[in-house]
């Protein structure tokens, strides 16, 4: 999307990049507004929209009551009514209170109306664990939404993507869910001065490698990158594929990397059973059956409600060492 000339880069946090994206959207299109709990006076529970209320005013930066179902549903109605709402749900855990609106309404109207009523709604949610917030604040439930036809599910892991996906999501005529991992907000990355919209179709190889593919998304991307470094020190070149979009999955990129390395590890902070890791495994199994010498490895959250205590939370979530171990296992053919 950028020109091929050398681009000036700057360091920026994920939070700041998310904020720039929102700022740009609010500035460029007067149909865009932001609504959710504490997006205004409080500045956003993860401080992403700090100062927006003052800049854009209370009509466009709308603090809502604690009413997830109503304000998500209101987002649907406003989208149908010609606006381009960005609804923020504090965490995916609370979004279960709005699951009816998202799944039974936002995802169905276009189809049930025979193509007449599209819902250009963007919903942002924080997801993931790692801050010792325990079982009602730490789950990675993006899986559930990735199962639903009619929705698109984005998981920006880089500053470039969190900066660029929003504009594309807003231009999309259909409901798009954007999941931001809570551990990413303080993370820094390099962003081109002229960074703008990015595609929301394709997975992206974040590191080239030949021996094993680490397939992941969101917060786990950086664990995979770290694992790849460690593996490199041991002579194993891991390719890291960032899915970027969980629905629709980019099969082509998945199959390409697996066909190249013949070994795959899927890393997902969601629970293993019935998670996105299962779907990716199934697609590899179906579409690259003869490419693998050994089965795909899955490194996922242990199937427990995420506990508070740090050592237990760490044990429950995928960690770098596990990824390294899984990669070595598929590369070496044994533990």
């Amino acid at each position: 999307m950028n020109s091929s000339e050398p681009t000036a880069m700057r360091e920026i946090t994920y939070r700041e990049a998310a904020r720039e994206a929102l700022h740009e959207a609010l500035t460029n299109d007067e149909r865009v507004f932001l609504m959710g709990e504490d997006v205004g006076r409080y500045g956003g529970s993860y401080a992403v929209s700090l100062g927006f209320l003052e800049e854009f005013g209370p009509e466009r930066i709308r603090d809502t009551p604690l009413s997830e179902s109503a304000f998500v549903g209101a987002g649907i109605g406003a989208a149908i009514g010609g606006m381009r709402p960005i609804v923020e749900v504090m965490t995916v855990n609370f979004s279960l209170l709005a699951a009816d609106q998202i799944i039974n309404t936002a995802a169905t109207y276009l189809h049930m109306s025979g193509g007449q009523i599209n819902v250009p709604l963007v919903i942002r949610m924080a997801t993931g664990g790692g801050l010792q917030l325990a079982a009602q604040h730490s789950h990675s439930l993006e899986n559930l939404y990735a199962h639903i036809p009619g929705l698109k599910v984005l998981t920006p892991a880089t500053v470039e993507d969190v900066r660029g996906m929003l504009a594309t999501a807003l231009a999309d005529p259909d409901p798009v869910l954007i999941f931001e991992h809570i551990l990413l907000y303080n993370r820094k990355g390099l962003l081109a001065e002229q960074a703008g919209a990015v595609d929301i179709d394709r997975a992206r190889v974040r590191r080239e490698g030949t021996h094993v593919s680490l397939i992941t998304y969101g917060g786990s991307l950086w664990k995979c990158m770290e694992a790849a470094e460690l593996l490199a020190q041991q002579g194993i070149e891991a390719e890291v594929l960032d899915l970027r979009i969980l629905r629709p999955l980019d099969d082509e990129s998945i199959i390409a990397t697996v066909s190249k390395t013949h070994r795959a590890v899927i890393v997902d902070e969601g629970w293993r059973s019935g998670g996105i890791s299962a779907e990716i495994t199934a697609r590899i199994h179906e579409q690259a059956f003869y490419e693998l010498d050994l089965p795909v490895q899955r490194v996922c959250a242990v199937e427990v409600p995420i506990p508070y205590a740090k050592h237990l939370e760490d044990a429950a979530l995928p960690q770098v060492e596990e990824i390294v171990a899984a990669a070595k296992k598929v590369v070496n053919g044994h533990d």
């Binding site: 507004f33 009509e59 709308r62 809502t64 009551p65 009413s67 179902s69 109503a70 304000f71 998500v72 549903g73 209101a74 987002g75 649907i76 109605g77 406003a78 989208a79 149908i80 009514g81 010609g82 606006m83 709402p85 009816d100 609106q101 039974n104 309404t105 109207y109 276009l110 189809h111 049930m112 109306s113 025979g114 193509g115 007449q116 009523i117 599209n118 036809p149 009619g150 698109k152 594309t168 231009a171 999309d172 005529p173 259909d174």
Partner: protein
């Protein structure tokens, strides 16, 4: 309750009264034909008839302006017709044909029409309320004077989405008219088994909404209430709530043995049905006689027969098109 023989007040325009009657009759006959088509297997799935409640939708629709949106439930054929969706398209929809207003994908419970801003046909009880609130929010932010008309049964009032929606609409002073069709039953659950406070207007008032209760069997009353609501909402006074007290003469859907109410109770209400009562008043006022009635019936019957023929002649959508409309076809 209006006595059957009472003539219309002088303030009512006779022409207009006949229009109201005709609209109600058209819905009634359409519903009767739908039931027949259901028994013949042309219509399938769930079918929720509006018979007995015609005065509500008819009264409401008189105040629905072109720029307004209507958000309805699964019991919405009447509203769809009254809003102006062509009868052919509604019948074809229920037949599952491509010429249907939702291309046959929605069926009886999911009538949609973008042209008249008829935003469904939502079969999740309470599910339409937040959508209507959002539509009203858009209308307000865009500076139009559109109103969102939100129609739901009294059963929906127990759902959390009712509570959240009324609060949001009032808090943000949005132009929504909440139209509760209180037919006193949610499937088999009588109002007093579902609400601790059965005076429904009190519930709406507890969010500080303007609220009124009206006789939903009297089309003049429903029309007047809707007009007050429209004026209020359109002129920036925020949301409005109307409880229309009415009654469903038929089963909840076609799968209902009606064990929860007596035949006598139903019969009692039928005696005061909206068509019967209004017809008597029109006669008493000299506006309707047997000939006139026969003419109306014939016109409506002809329209309905044509709609059935249209629906029957309709084409099933090609199976190859199954996966269309999961996502929009025009992508940016």
């Amino acid at each position: 309750m209006i006595t059957a023989a009472e003539p219309l007040p002088d303030t009512v325009d006779g022409e207009h009264a006949l229009v109201l009657f005709t609209q109600m009759l058209r819905v009634r006959r359409f519903e009767e034909k739908s039931a027949e088509m259901y028994s013949k297997g042309n219509i399938r799935g769930f079918l929720h008839l509006y018979i007995g409640e015609e005065a509500v939708g008819t009264g409401i629709m008189q105040s629905v302006a072109p720029q307004d949106a209507v958000v309805a439930t699964y019991r919405e054929h009447g509203h769809a017709l009254l809003r102006g969706i062509p009868m052919n398209a509604v019948m074809a929809e229920m037949f599952g044909k491509q010429e249907g207003c939702s291309r046959g994908r929605g069926g009886s419970m999911h009538l949609f029409d973008k042209a008249t801003r008829f935003i469904g046909g939502n079969a999740i009880v309470g599910g339409g309320l937040p959508v209507a609130v959002g539509y009203a929010l858009a209308a307000k932010m865009r500076g139009t004077d559109a109103v969102a008309w939100c129609i739901f049964g009294e059963g929906a009032m127990a759902e959390g989405e009712f509570h959240e929606s009324l609060n949001l609409a009032e808090l943000w002073q949005l132009p929504v008219v909440f139209c509760c069709e209180n037919n006193f039953y949610a499937m088999g659950t009588a109002l007093d088994r579902s609400e601790s406070e059965t005076r429904l207007v009190e519930k709406a008032r507890s969010y500080r909404l303007d609220a009124e209760v009206v006789d939903g069997m009297d089309v003049l009353a429903t029309e007047a209430a809707a007009r007050r609501a429209a004026d209020s909402a359109r002129s920036g006074n925020g949301p409005y709530f109307i409880e229309f007290q009415t009654y469903r003469f038929k089963a909840h859907s076609m799968f209902d043995a009606e064990r929860y109410r007596s035949k006598e109770e139903v019969h009692e209400h039928e005696l005061h049905g909206p068509l019967r009562t209004f017809a008597a008043r029109l006669s008493a006022s000299g506006l309707l006689d047997d000939d006139k009635r026969a003419t109306l019936e014939a016109e409506i019957a002809a329209e309905i027969e044509a709609a059935v023929a249209f629906a029957e002649a309709g084409t099933p959508e090609p199976v190859d098109d199954l996966t269309r409309f999961v996502y929009s076809e025009v992508q940016p």
